[in-house]
Symmetry: C2
Subunit: 211 residues, 2 copies
Amino acid sequence: MQIAVLLYEGFTALDTVGPYEILSRIPGAEVVFTAAEAGPVRTDMGSLALTADLPLAEVTAPDLLVVPGGPGTEQALGDTAVLDWLRAADATTTWTTSVCSGSLLLAGAGLLRGRRAASHWITLEHLPLFGAEPSTDRVVFDGKYATSAGVSAGIDLALQLAGRLAGDAVAEAIQLVVEYAPDPPYACGSALTAPPTLLASLRASNLVVHA
Amino acid sequence: MQIAVLLYEGFTALDTVGPYEILSRIPGAEVVFTAAEAGPVRTDMGSLALTADLPLAEVTAPDLLVVPGGPGTEQALGDTAVLDWLRAADATTTWTTSVCSGSLLLAGAGLLRGRRAASHWITLEHLPLFGAEPSTDRVVFDGKYATSAGVSAGIDLALQLAGRLAGDAVAEAIQLVVEYAPDPPYACGSALTAPPTLLASLRASNLVVHA
């Protein structure tokens, strides 16, 4: 099972590393990080680069696709090479997945028409532009498409996916390996529960993933 | 505020990227990934490399130190250059932190003598070898030393640290930016609640971080 993780300049690191940390531990999984060109690709915050081991041209038939979000989504949406690759890769996948504003890339490639999808709370409203139905659920499965809310939600998506791919026993073991018994210090991790004033200030700030 | 994240061959990716995703969003924070030599450093699963932008020799006075764990911990524990760097870096830090078996590296460098510390559940029992007192808490603060349990616990550690460094309002904003309202599919993410049979099978398997 080949799992392809798309990288592009300005992606959000945890969008990729959360799912990678879970999915790479599924027996038989082979993960490949891929980008337009092989080599280091910078994240949105600038201070970290992940290595793309293969160029997109050499990843032609993945079984599972992981598409991250991040401020770079906007530029990637205008990159026909990326959108063409997403469509071609999707033709061979068993599962096509995204984290955060990555669902905008899937939608922009025409892959989510008529489907329910999640996204970062700040980009959710853009999904209808591409014919997708926005959902405030943290993880959304619709056919072979699995999309999640922002950044850290990719961990929940990947664990659910591991359960479907390899069974609950394997997914439970992986959850224990990564000690995923989260204990967030605050109760404001979702746009559904956060104070409206915080949501408004973040929409205007530079802390946020814009797409 | 310079935040130095140590990389070494065989580290666990999420141990670094979880804290990075939180701490890099603190206003005024500058994160640098560092390793013995600059360049790509492979994670434990082999299919991902993160770039060290600076060699250890050029990171001489960090304000905050993040030390990841992973199967590579064992080899790093025998690397005097790494242990010497940890001691030198710790001399200038306001906070010295670790995720997962990274606490063994801090302990091996002699920095946790007489202190309480967390670690991955499978490496916790080794802490007393270095004079540290193991704790099954997910995040442990003892003086300027903050240590966490395995892999995903680094996110909780970093959010608590963000609150102490920049105040609750900033930390809450960051938690909402990364949509950290976790929803784990299973209840087995902690060694305290997981079935004993699962713990035993993982101790004997290759899924686990060994140190």
